[in-house]
């Protein structure tokens, strides 16, 4: 059943977000720490486990694949609702602060990739 896949996905997301909130409170900040990352790990672990113990049918996999496939359209919608005006209103200082941090972070990707190799 398609809904099993969607439900599993929803379960992982909510559990992850709850754990992320709890982690934030534990450290004493009002922010979600890695809730979605935790949810992704949960999905990887749970779907692996479920596949071994009892087959997660092809149909319920479709429930997850659909949401994975509409990822790009969702990201396009996300781009279309950004506050572009506010970003440009920040003027030169916002451009320098944001731009430099992006450029330097790009440059570090190959460096850190080498670490521990």
């Amino acid at each position: 059943m398609v809904i099993y896949g969607v439900a599993l996905l929803a379960f992982c997301m909510l559990l992850g977000v709850i754990l992320g909130e709890l982690l934030g409170r534990l450290i004493g900040i009002e922010a979600n720490i890695g809730g979605i990352g935790i949810a992704m790990l949960l999905l990887v672990l749970l779907s692996g486990y479920l596949k071994q113990s009892f087959r997660l049918g092809d149909l319920s996999e479709q429930g997850i694949h659909f949401w994975s496939a509409v990822y790009i359209p969702i990201v396009v919608a996300m781009a279309a609702k950004q506050n572009v005006i506010a970003a440009l209103d920040g003027g030169f200082i916002a451009l320098v602060a944001g731009g430099l941090s992006v450029i330097l972070s790009f440059l570090l990707v190959p460096l850190i990739s080498k670490v521990g190799r």
Binding site: I27, M40, L43, V44, A79, G98, L104, V109
Partner: protein
């Protein structure tokens, strides 16, 4: 004219459905453009994201609102489709099929990139603030936090009681960062070796802006999305933890 009123009310009542047509149309135009004029060299999704940002600018200038094109009433569904709930749900879905070994293999480098990413962006933002004449630790910290992400900026600013215009500036810096990552990632991907799960995790940890990383990787190679998103989702939380505490205390040592 009554017909147009009916049309409008149907679009508004079924906002999410309307947004499917709207986004479908943007994606279709973008892929057409990509194949026809760039022979697929510039990804259709990269063009779609840029087109989305352009429309967000248009929407923002027409309405004066904060939600880009979604502030136009008949397109309000775009706000729901592109909001954090669906975005995060789809991000989690991309993790299906990811191999645990790959995550483990790059785990340590991912954590390292998170720490370095937050601190680097903060320092760059703080130095920029000083270069533009800010001298108090609170403003410098807030602008530094804004260069981390547009959420860390206001969280830090309100924790430290920063001026509202400084907080607005920190949000702007974070938004610029996020949009630059969205647009520029596909162009630099090759030269920074962003073509495997490991470098994607490091990229996510260094950049950190979830929306920027999500869109940037989608426009580069959708297979890399889960790896980058995995680390990026820890970034804002880590920034909210470090910026108003340790990083503020260090800043205060230099700027009383």
């Amino acid at each position: 004219m009554e017909f147009f009123e009916i049309l409008e009310s149907v679009f508004v009542k079924n906002g999410l459905i309307t947004s499917f047509i709207f986004v479908g149309f943007i994606v279709w135009i973008s892929y057409f453009f990509s194949n026809r004029f760039t022979k697929g060299r510039l990804h259709g999704s990269a063009i779609a994201i840029m087109l989305g940002l352009l429309l967000a600018y248009v929407g923002g200038s027409i309405t004066g609102g904060k939600n880009g094109i979604a502030d136009i009433t008949i397109l309000s569904g775009v706000g729901l489709l592109g909001g954090a709930m669906f975005r995060d749900f789809a991000i989690v879905a991309t993790a299906y099929g990811v191999k645990l070994e790959e995550l483990k293999e790059a785990g340590a480098a991912g954590v390292l990139s998170l720490l370095i990413g937050v601190i680097l962006s903060f320092v760059v933002g703080a130095i920029t603030a000083v270069a533009f004449g800010y001298t108090d630790a609170v403003s410098i910290t807030t602008i530094g936090a804004g260069a981390v992400t547009y959420i860390v900026g206001p969280v830090t600013g309100s924790a430290l009681n920063a001026d509202s215009d400084v907080i607005a500036l920190s949000v702007a810096a974070g938004l610029i960062k996020s949009m630059l990552v969205m647009i520029s990632t596909p162009f630099v991907a090759k030269s920074i070796g962003l073509d495997n799960p490991r470098s994607a995790m490091i990229f996510g940890g260094l950049m950190g802006t979830t929306s920027g990383v999500a869109a940037g990787l989608a426009a580069t190679d959708p297979k890399l999305v889960p790896y980058g998103a995995m680390t990026a989702t820890f970034y804002t939380g880590l920034g909210c933890l470090l910026a108003p505490s340790v990083l503020f205390l260090i800043t205060r040592v230099f700027f009383a």
